[in-house]
């Protein structure tokens, strides 16, 4: 009897991984028309480039804008017209400016529908660690704790493994937390995973083309489950 080769965490990938833009595109697909959304820096910020047709979002940036859209060309722009990632949005009708008191009342008060953030580690019960690498000893919290703790829905868009094929999806975070039990969904370069925070279950919903459940599981420390069919990310 032979069994299919399990490539193992150090094995070769069965198929290419999605690039950063494709991760963002997949995360963007689930954003619901009319939502108030805060996108973190890195892959999450790219979601804005891939909204499905007909979907319009109200983007919030924690430095005090709601309703911005198109960005100016890199390096150009007005310093008084900045988003929280340091990019310079164009002025569009209907956008609103406010100070940080109001910006964080909006967040802490639970008025942000969805935040898409990056992560260093996510645990099976939805704990998020994304502000400090312990080895460095010092980190940056910014708005991440407020967003993770208080947004109605928290989506993580990230690469599945850290350098050296280290699993970022773990049984328990070893890095200091940003917020406990907050992550609803993880979108990576090889999978889409829903989190059942209450029961500490990770439900694999989709895999990248050419990737099987076993392929993804082999690169994931925490145990994955399925609930019905596993789809393909595109």
């Amino acid at each position: 009897m032979t069994t299919a080769r399990n490539p193992g965490i150090n094995g070769e990938d069965p198929a290419p991984r999605l690039n950063r833009a494709a991760i963002a595109k997949r995360a963007a697909r689930d954003l619901i028309d009319g939502s108030t959304v805060n996108l973190g820096i890195g892959i999450p910020a790219l979601c804005a480039d891939f909204l499905p047709d007909g979907v319009e979002l109200l983007y919030h940036a924690e430095n005090g804008i709601l309703g911005f859209k198109e960005l100016s060309a890199p390096g150009e722009g007005d310093p008084n017209m900045m988003d929280a990632g340091g990019k310079f949005p164009k002025l569009v009708p209907g956008m609103a400016f406010f100070d940080s008191v109001e910006s964080f009342a909006l967040i802490r008060g639970g008025h942000i529908d969805v935040t898409v953030l990056g992560a260093l580690q996510v645990s099976r019960n939805g704990d998020l660690a994304n502000w400090i690498i312990p080895k460095r000893g010092i980190g940056s919290i910014g708005g991440a704790m407020d967003l993770a703790e208080n947004a109605k829905r928290v989506v993580i868009a990230m690469e599945h493994n850290a350098r050296g094929d280290i699993s970022k999806i773990v049984d328990a975070c070893t890095f200091p937390l940003t917020a406990p039990g907050c992550v609803d969904q993880i979108v990576t370069d090889i999978a889409v995973i829903d989190i059942d925070q209450e029961n500490g279950r990770l439900i694999l919903r989709e895999t990248a083309p050419g990737w099987s459940f076993d392929d993804v599981q082999a690169r994931t420390e925490a145990k994955l489950e399925t609930d019905g069919d596993v789809g393909q990310m595109v």
């Binding site: 940036a61 924690e62 430095n63 005090g64 804008i65 890199p74 390096g75 150009e76 722009g77 007005d78 310093p79 008084n80 017209m81 900045m82 988003d83 929280a84 340091g86 400016f97 406010f98 100070d99 940080s100 008191v101 910006s103 964080f104 967040i107 802490r108 704990d127 690498i133 460095r136 010092i138 980190g139 940056s140 919290i141 910014g142 708005g143 991440a144 704790m145 407020d146 703790e149 208080n150 200091p176 937390l177 940003t178 917020a179 406990p180 039990g181």
Partner: protein, 256 residues
Amino acid sequence: MRRSGKRPYNLAPVPINKISNSFADAVADIPSGASIMIGGFGGAGGQPTRLMLALRDLGVGDLTIIGNVAGISKTTGYGWPDHLDPVDQGMFFESGQATKIICSFPVPGTTNPLSEIEKAWREGKAEVDIVPQGTLIERIRAAGAGIPAFYTPTGVGTPVAEGKEHRDFDGRTHLLEHALPADYALIRAEKADTRGNLQYIGTSRAFNPAMATAARITIVEVDEIVEVGGIDSERVGTLSTYVNRIVQREPGDPLP
């Protein structure tokens, strides 16, 4: 009943003319050991850059700086147009003037060179207190609004919660956080009238309006000073009551 800590009634009233002739004059009385809020978000917009440079030139030390995104522009270009050399709060750590910072974002990403703040921290020359941004701004707001402490859900279950009172409200755990006042606030606005009412532009508000309320002395850097009435009463972003000193930039200043 105890009433210590009330703001003192100043028998020498704040002069009606709050305009300082220079940035150097405006910061001249800041002593060593002072706590200083620096407005803006991080990046050039809303940052009191000329006041910061004047404070550096003043040379006083043992400062506690309170800011938000702090000291990362110089190494990353954050919030600055590409053609300009960024100026940020790291200058007070490079000069050795600051021994502590309270902020939310002092460390750039791993692919960037170390910031002046991180260098000072690694060398044991500076204490860095990292506070979630929403908690930081609310602590500043609370200080200005006469609220000594408040509860927030942000930070529960994280290192931020260590040593703090926890209390459940409606089935959710919160942390007790304390108001954060300062000796001085250096802030930035687009326009001031001669009375000290301020008008802001775009995303330059950020931490400026709250910091204006939370310091013993608030000093504002503006692009333009106008007569009373020159700011629409409907558009006053900070009330003159909070403002002690106003300095106007040179027209056409190349620094944003």
